[in-house]
């Protein structure tokens, strides 16, 4: 008997009845090439389980255990608007779902890497120091092709150290560095994003010891990185956001 492709896969996936299984086994005994494929497909299924079954044992994050409780203020606001304006419901859902966590996720990683590289630097943490703040902001604005602002984080206990220009996936990237009285540093990574972007809520990611809050606002992506607890960094990120959106 000639094996059909369908039978072969159904056999691998245990979706044949006993009679079908016997027929396929008999045919496979005469067809070494198909038998090798069956073995390979079974290995694929087994490998998927061996790699991903561990997820089943993980503790489910709280945000998923109570899925109606939105995480960030922006999400809460969206949900509230959603509840108030039934007619707009579908539209908002659409807007939320159009976020692109993958693309944005790689952005946060680049920010965390830039933070890890430059924040320990003792002698040359920045290219242009805060003493020349006006020049710094004008220079970075010119290179990114958009008007930038260096947020003032004095109230949060951080002073501007200065900034530098970095290469990013989509051209020039600006990095502003801040430091508190104990020398703990934060960096704000600002990149122009190609294509059309939707504004996103704050997203959080942890890259080794570096915590990152990142968001998209207009044509710019922002990432605030620092080795400090999530809630502290969120406080600073909120201040940055408010200053950029007065």
């Amino acid at each position: 008997m000639k094996l059909s492709e369908h039978e072969l896969h159904a056999y691998v996936d245990g979706q044949l009845d006993a009679e079908g299984r016997r027929a396929v086994e008999a045919a496979l005994a005469q067809a070494p090439e198909e038998a090798a494929r069956v073995a390979a497909y079974r290995d694929q299924n087994a490998a998927l389980h061996s790699v991903y079954d561990a997820v089943l044992e993980e503790t489910v994050p709280a945000r998923l255990r109570h899925p109606t409780a939105r995480q960030s203020a922006v999400r809460v606001a969206v949900l509230a608007a959603w509840l108030l304006t039934g007619a707009a419901l579908g539209w908002f859902a659409h807007a939320l779902l159009l976020e692109s966590p993958h693309a944005v996720g790689s952005f946060s990683r680049q920010a965390a890497i830039a933070h890890a590289v430059y924040s320990p630097e003792v002698r040359h943490p920045v290219e242009v120091g805060a003493a020349e703040q006006e020049h710094l902001v004008n220079w970075l604005s010119k290179r990114l092709g958009t008007k930038l602002k260096a947020p003032v984080l004095t109230a949060e206990g951080y002073e501007l150290v200065g900034g530098r220009l970095l290469p990013g996936e989509q051209g020039a990237v600006a990095q502003f560095m801040y430091q508190d009285s104990k020398g703990k540093r934060l960096t704000l990574y600002v990149s122009r994003l190609a294509g059309k972007q939707r504004d996103t809520a704050f997203r959080f990611s942890q890259e080794e010891k570096v915590s990152v809050f990142y968001w998209i606002d207009g044509a710019l992506g922002y990432a605030l990185s620092g080795e400090l607890p999530k809630h502290e960094l969120l406080g600073v990120a909120t201040t940055v956001y408010k200053q950029l959106n007065p």
Binding site: H9, Q44, A47, L48, S50, L98, S106, G195, K196, R203
Partner: protein
Amino acid sequence: MTPEQIATHIPRLRRYARALVGDPHAADDLVQDTLERAINKRHLWRPGSDLRAWLFAIMHNVFVNQLRSRQAHPEEGLDDETLPAVAPTDGARLEIRDLQSALAVLPAEQREIVLLVGLEQLTYAEVSEALGIPIGTVMSRLFRGRERLRGLIAGAPVAPNLKVVK
């Protein structure tokens, strides 16, 4: 349908999402959006029907919407940061890297089906219903996906009995 009923399916939704998108944060975002949508649309669920298949159907819709929004960024590169949070032996690490990179190379429409069938063990009919496509299309994407995967991981060891330690 109660939130408790939905909750029993969360671990498997997370497993599927992790394999589908790679990055753990992005995967949980996908699960969260799926759960929220399911709760908002719970009146559309037919009591007595398979809740799990319904949840996979919702996740598919959410995922496809995300892909559309990502068309400006077609790259789906995977690197160390997106590997699952497991601490395996060197051999297992290789295995994860190979499998994850290979999966990431598959077109999303094939990856979904390879995972729903091979990992989540949905029947072909369930996949057809969850994705809203004819069973013939399910099968042809499954054939192509598995062949592609076989080509990608040929030469690399795929040990079926490998233990991944958490």
